[in-house]
Symmetry: D2
Subunit: 350 residues, 4 copies
């Protein structure tokens, strides 16, 4: 990724995945998912998650999230989530579109992790208001979160238990699920359905694919009619083999974990360097591959002038300076990290 810390989606596809796409490009096969690669993906995903799952490939994370939510929340439903979750702030209303108008009820959370007690309080309001209030339907958590933190399995299971108790479904936005998994050092099963997750948006694009995400239902019955939802949203590919091939390669030979582990390691190295950089203030624990750091404005300007790529975080400005986001990826090189830290020190120096 050179010195591009703008996002993990500025990367090309990793070798294993681009090779899989090329290998899939041979001969005629049944369209719309009737091909062999798609069948193999179903098996592989079930193996990975240690139970029979129903997996549906789509091309974008917004599609995965919104389709998943539309399956578990009625148009008059409420979906509880972090107030600055990706589904709230970055998808241009896609969840509302796909669900037919369900309401995302955002809860504050300094580190992006919502808690059972917050949820209980919000659910009490719904109870008191009855028919005037949208119907509690689902909870959505992001793992790793929008702030690069990761729910522990205990934290997640507590949310899952509340969901079960209240008859809500639990969705996980796993755009960076592999990064979380590597951090948690647990099995995919433990990180999802064993902790109460009903449906996962499994990301691959940011972690080495060209354009591949998947909706994974842990109880296949929960996926009834989901194929039609995908079709009517224009997300059923005729040449499905090209999506399935990416995901199959991703979930094979530890590609997803190796890519994520590298990104996390680079993020930790970057965070380490920044923590000891004068004037820098790392804002959250760095559990995955995102770092939020406050830097003096002149440092930020300097880094930009030196062609480092990253985002100034919208509207975040404090006495310490400006918050920026740095994202590492499977491609980030150690020398890129070192160069960034050196530059931050240079531009931040007295």
């Amino acid at each position: 990724m050179g010195s591009n810390f703008g996002s993990d989606n500025v990367t090309p596809a990793c070798d294993a995945i681009i090779q899989a796409v090329n290998a899939a490009n041979a001969g005629t096969v049944a369209s719309y998912g009737g091909d062999d690669l798609t069948a193999r993906l179903q098996s592989r995903a079930s193996e990975v998650f240690e139970r029979e799952v129903a997996i549906y490939p789509v091309a974008t994370g917004t599609a995965a999230n919104s389709l998943a939510l539309s399956q578990i929340a009625a148009p008059f439903g409420a979906i509880y989530c972090y107030e600055a979750a990706h589904i709230v702030t970055d998808e241009c209303g896609a969840p509302e579109f796909f669900t037919g108008g369900a309401k995302l009820i955002g809860l504050p959370a300094p580190d992006g992790k919502i808690s059972p007690s917050q949820l209980s309080h919000a659910l009490s309001l719904a109870d008191e208001m009855g028919v005037h209030h949208v119907k509690p339907a689902a909870i959505s958590v992001t793992q790793a979160t929008e702030w690069g933190t990761v729910y522990t399995n205990e934290e997640l299971a507590a949310v899952g238990a509340l969901a079960k108790e209240r008859g809500l479904r639990l969705h996980m936005d796993g755009a960076r699920f592999a990064n979380a998994l590597v951090h948690l050092q647990c099995s995919p099963a433990a990180a999802t359905w064993r902790s109460g997750v009903d449906v996962l948006s499994l990301g691959a694009t940011k972690n080495g694919a060209l354009c591949a995400e998947a909706v994974v239902f842990f109880e296949p019955e929960l996926a009834a009619d989901f194929e039609r939802r995908r079709k009517r949203a224009g997300h059923l590919w005729s040449k499905m083999r090209f999506l399935s091939a990416q995901l199959l390669a991703y979930l094979s030979d530890d590609v997803w974990l190796d890519n994520a582990r590298h990104a996390n390691t680079m993020a930790e190295a970057l965070a380490q360097g920044l923590r000891t950089t004068p004037g820098a203030r790392v804002l959250h624990p760095v559990h995955a591959n995102e770092i939020f750091v406050e830097l003096p404005e002149k440092t930020v300007v300097g880094l930009e002038s030196a062609a480092f790529k990253f985002y100034r975080w919208p509207l975040h400005r404090s006495d310490h300076g400006i918050a920026i986001r740095l994202v590492t990826s499977y491609m980030t090189q150690r020398q890129d990290v070192e160069a960034f830290i050196a530059a931050a020190r240079h531009w931040g120096g007295v």
Copy 2:
């Protein structure tokens, strides 16, 4: 495509396009369409259509059609089209979903081509019914049509003139636009905006791409806010370069025309052979790459037993037998065509 006449979407990508995808797989670039390939696609499309156009790549034809229609028809709008148009019968309600409930008003047409007089009659009903009736908003034509026929430019211009006169927008579902263009032997401009088309769904997937279609607006102002529509439908790719690369290659070096010309030639050869096959009845003029033919049931069964792939057309059965659809593609080989004709004669023989 071997002897697979099931659809043109059973094919892999053609060489030029898969090579373009591989070439695009290098280095970090800005995401969400901020890359150079996407910029070049805009230029190239404007060149090809001989005017400044706004082109938006998406992965599927259903997405292209539905997004285009949502831009030109209000939720309380009427979209006039052929009663068995792809948007009516094959997209699981996607146009209704994307438009927020607009109504497709289907008109009968033996060869899939709707006429100004039909449209005028239907519009008169809307006029008489006023607010009780959905508001006439758009006309959608398929080019080449669902029956493999092609509107002449005169036929199309007559529909276009009516649209202008009545203040409606004209959409073209060009899933097989290149096949139509090759048949018409005219410029892309003549086949679209010069004949009154406002917005085109330009297909590439069936004609050599992995997964690439585009919505093309011929007046860029008509595309206001379209980016947000695409985003909220989950059709804005983060790694847009991979979509743009396909379309750029498609529209370069006559790839699209060469592929389509080959498919059309094979279709014509197949039709020729079938027209002289005892018991066979070719149902429509063969202008593009689809052939609909009635065959005795035993012939159809025989062909199926010989592993030829094609579709029995739903619910079409006459005294002559069963209707099947045969689709040729850029990959179809002459020997496949000859083998099919020989087999049809063999199984149809007395």
Copy 3:
């Protein structure tokens, strides 16, 4: 109604109903349906239909139909009905709006009555097309039909049996249900759930109310969350007593039947007179309170000049002349009928 045969909705409210509204206008009561009149309506409706029903008052027929359909058809669902049903042609896309985009699949029917064999054929197409086709969800019949005819209970039960067999729900648009009931001379139960109807839009406005319709579910479980659907459509009245009072009066003391019987009787008298009027051609059996008749254009013009009110039926013109619709109501006087017939003869005379 004087000589206004334009529609049965040009009438004021009948005495029993306006009195009930006035009687309800006293004291403070719980809002949103927590009042006593609403409770009594629930009981009365259950009595009338001879089983525990769930009844939800709303102000318009379009609301009743669309809310009912939204409860039984998913956004990706298909609703089968007559091609010129009120829900297709007269509600400005309301069913699509409320369902979130479900598709109304219209079937031809000269007298407005659809048949099991038509439905079976249409369902076969859905079966063959699978995920590309909207999912068969519901059947909607209008009783009395848009042409003033009435399904016999046998005809209805045959549709109901098919619905059950195929797992579809059966909706009845009963905007003129009382008129049908009087014609059928059977119990409300026999005319609905005993013939397979799952949900009824029960009309009162056209038959003597100010603004009262109701959605009646014959299995209360089918009504789960329906209150929220009504609320979010803006159809839950705060002062619900005023809706409930109308419906309670309507269903009491045979008001609904008496009003409808009178209207039907007047329609039959009008039809009788027209059948023997030279140049007139009554188009359909007259089962309820609507008459469609073709008259020479000069007769129609003459009647209009004499201030008779009726509709020229849109786009209906034949060798016999112009089709008009005449609707009778609880207010129609015999002298109005006689005056109309006399005038038709006068203006039609040589």
Copy 4:
């Protein structure tokens, strides 16, 4: 209203309005708003607001708000409002339903009044996020607010100026507009379009009608196609005269102002009494007809036991006790107010 302070919608209709309904109940008239009363309402509303307006009667406030918002916000639009506005918390997702998924962006405001600086900040975020963020479309203010306070005309005009500057439309939820107007002691024009309001939901139900609200557009061009929106939502009454009659009476002979003035006066008397009641804490300025007051729990329980009706405000509990809401109406009697205060003192006494 006796001692029912639960809401102003527990009341019957006031004399002027029920008489108008009865008067309208005579003879046949054109349906769907083609009647004379509806025409007169248009004139009267234009007179009242001192400019040509377009007024559309509907039966509920939720319908008025949601229809109005759907006219000014695209499905991918953002509507800025107070975070606990009625449209956010009390309409079961109706705005999302009618707009096709627009997002309500709630801003905190202790007294229910949002400010230009808050709005500017929120709009900056939208600017920075571009296509990923819903498009700023509208601002909605409630007047009187959900807390019974009233924007001054200066405060309102400042919001209106920002709206104009940013190309947003300004909607006013005027469920209790008359109460605000009486408080402001200004003209209806000054309180709306002269302060930048584009569209008003004008409430009458809570202030003396049976079921009448209206959407009022101050530039009639802004109402293009609004009739179809109303129709497809099931909110176009066939017997429109009964809605128009209510609103016409409401806006005539100062009925609306007299009713509201009485309610406000009673509220002020109640507030006065409570301000000097030991243990009671009135929470907000009382500008209109709602009072929020904290009382010790035992006082609340005592009042409930004495059959006073009011709402415990959901989830509001502080060191001072429980918050309850008291609403006065055109029917509230001074002795009801005095009885309540006496009881509050009795049950709150040591």
